[in-house]
Amino acid sequence: MLEIKNLHASIAEDDTSILKGLDLVIQPGEVHAIMGPNGSGKSTLSKILAGDQQYQVTDGEILFNGESILDDDATERSLKGLFLAFQYPVEIPGVNNAQFLRMAYNAKLKYNGEEEVDPIEFDDFLNEKLALVDMNESFKDRALNFGFSGGEKKRNEILQLAVLEPKLAILDETDSGLDVDALRDVSAAVNKLRSEGRSFLLITHYQRLLDYIVPDVVHAMVGGEIVKSGDKELAKELDKQGYDWVANV
């Protein structure tokens, strides 16, 4: 599904290097988790995967379903089935949430050569998805993320995930800032979306999330590299002992 080889990347504006030779392979259907200290480059990695042009890849490869996506812009990558639930979703005033979702959904349908849906058809579809993430229908008529609480923004990201049904979903700290009930709802929604053909990359600081969404592989990321990988037990150890012991191996 995803193959990252020796990825080096820096901030385009000032060449500050952030990712320093990162390798990662995710097979179809697998759930991977990345844990790591603040500033280790987790969000940068996820944004680079999604095609954020403020970073430049200086070395290495990113293959998605066997093909390099380095030359694709964010739109293209999304259409190919890559999805990022942002750590900090942006607010876009005046843009109706439901209309935005339909626009994104139709872009995908069109790309796949399917017929686009009208607002009425989409509304039924959207209501199902809202129920899945336990969101009130009033969120349809609000401006995109505008004035949403932190937790509401996170739920809205999962709603988008449910609408777009990507092949690979990266969840950047979706659990941070969620109350217990929300965490349970969001995890349940993600678990429902788990399937043979769909992979997940979860970025988190808390092993608790991984009790709800059980990962196949756990990685420790420090200083722009993956320094240790293991099974779900690694998450427990990192939770207990912090990162110093992995950073020094």
């Binding site: 999604a50 954020d52 964010a74 739109t75 876009i92 935005f100 994104a104 872009a107």
Partner: protein, 485 residues
């Protein structure tokens, strides 16, 4: 998106071709270029006007000679040679008088058809009545008879001058006198046509009325005049659209619009202005849009609302304003002005509070891309007599790229201490993070930009009649296509 990328694409910026840039080949009748008393007399004679109109024109012309061109706007442009302009250009009439649809030249019908303005009533879907103006004259007005059944007069200005001289005499120049400004004086001297609307007492106009202006001749000046009179307890919604072919030279468009609302009357006036903006790269050509629009809320509890979507023209110089004379009257101004490439816009409004408890609202959204300038210029004036006047002003500017500029120039003049004024202003750049967010959901760059910008304009689009809101949104997207990358 990196800044380098950003700049690069702005340089590479290829404009979507201006869709309405074709010319119509039709035999025209023109007065010689240049302006003199003779030309003024020629125009008046052509239109077979009564004496009072010629008088009005000549007074205006003589006054204009003494005036100087206003150059205080932020727009810069070479001096205009007013003697190198055609002041009258009309499609040659076939024998019969214009009036019935069958007599409209088929070539003209096709032109308006191409512009999406079918002149055949049965083809009109939304049930909007249209007055179509081609260069200097009105070529057709639809649904005229049907409207007249309810006493609503909707016809060309020329027709009104002969058919309703008393109303014209009473109101012509009563809101925008010819002494008002250089272009208003010029318009008063040489205006050739325009639309006239009269809504009698206690009448809600049964359909939206609309004018469509088309400039076809190179080096023409289009000087039209619109007068709308809304009697007590009546209301009307009026829409105005405009396009012009692409020429390397500049065409002058100096219109005057006067609105009068009596007791409890409401006039909603919406404009979608899409004049040719000039060549995107060189800035050559395009319309100079120097327009004076003003409404007078003469009656108690009357209301005048201006909504404008300004996307075209090389230069826009336009301040639709309200004079709030009647107690409890309301003035509104909702504006979206988009400038791209080398366009320049200096636009805004004036709200003059005279009556008690008068209220005004100003919402202005300026969007700049390319190397364009966009200025909001506004004035709120509260006279001594205006007890408890209220104004709310909100001016938001959005910048796309870093070579364009936005300026906000509001002034207030308050002579009554009971007035309450509120002002909010903001300037934002289209965020790379917002674009990235939308793109990461599979939305293309152009659509992402269009979505952000139309979100920014939402509170103004909400004020537009439905059929216009869709058009406005599309125009906006077209105008900004490829402005980031």
């Amino acid at each position: 998106m990196s800044n380098q990328d950003h700049d690069k694409t702005i340089h590479e910026f290829i404009a979507k071709d201006y869709e309405f840039g074709f010319t119509t080949n039709i035999e025209m009748e023109q007065a010689p270029k240049g302006l003199s008393e003779d030309i003024v007399r020629f125009i008046s004679a052509k239109k077979e006007e009564p004496e009072f109109m010629l008088e009005f024109r000549l007074k205006a012309y003589r006054h204009w000679l003494k005036m100087t061109e206003p150059r205080w706007s932020v727009a810069t442009y070479p001096d205009i040679d007013f003697n190198n302009v055609y002041y009258y250009s009309a499609p040659k009439k076939k024998e019969a008088k214009l009036g019935s649809m069958d007599e409209v030249d088929p070539e003209l019908k096709r032109t308006f058809e191409k512009l999406g303005i079918p002149l055949l009533e049965q083809k009109r879907l939304a049930g909007v009545a249209v007055d179509a103006i081609f260069d200097s004259v009105s070529v057709a007005t639809t649904y005229k008879d049907k409207l007249l059944e309810q006493g609503v007069v909707f016809c060309s200005f020329s027709e009104a001058v002969t058919k309703y001289p008393d109303i014209i005499k009473q109101y012509l120049g009563s809101v925008v006198p010819y002494t008002d400004n250089f272009y208003a004086a010029l318009n008063a001297a040489v205006f050739s046509d325009g639309s006239f609307v009269y809504i009698p007492k206690d009448t809600i106009c049964p359909m939206d009325l609309s004018s469509y202006f088309r400039i076809n001749t190179e080096e023409i000046g289009q000087f039209e005049r619109t007068l709308i009179v809304c009697e007590e307890r009546s209301s009307v919604t009026y829409l105005e659209g405009c396009t012009a072919p692409m020429f390397d030279t500049n065409q002058l468009h100096a219109a005057v619009v006067e609105l009068i609302a009596l007791d409890d009357a409401t006039i909603n006036y919406s404009t979608v202005q899409n004049w040719y903006p000039g060549d995107p790269k060189t800035g050559k050509g395009g319309i100079y849009n120097f327009v004076t629009k003003r409404g007078k809320c003469q009656g108690k509890r009357s209301k005048i609302s201006w909504t404008q979507i300004e996307t075209g023209s090389a230069i826009t110089w336009k301040y639709p304003s309200c004079i709030l004379v009647g107690d409890d009257s309301i003035g509104e101004f909702y504006s979206v002005a988009v400038t791209n490439h080398r366009q320049q816009a200096d636009t805004g409004t004036k709200m003059i509070h005279i009556g008690k408890n008068t209220r005004s609202t100003i919402i202005s959204k300026g969007i700049s891309a390319g190397v364009a300038t966009n200025a909001y210029r506004g004035a709120v004036k509260v006279n001594k007599s205006a007890r408890n006047a209220r104004n709310y002003t909100q001016c938001d500017s959005m910048l796309i790229g870093d070579k364009c500029s936005a300026i906000t120039l509001p002034t207030v003049d308050v002579r009554n201490a009971t007035a309450q004024l509120e002002h909010e202003a903001s300037t934002s750049k289209v965020g790379e993070d917002q674009l990235f967010y939308l793109m990461s959901r599979g939305i293309s760059l152009d659509d992402a930009l269009g979505t952000i910008v139309s979100g920014f304009c939402q509170d103004v689009f909400d004020k537009l009649p439905d059929e216009f809101a869709v058009e406005a949104n599309q125009l906006l997207s077209l105008q900004l296509e490829h402005s980031v990358g």
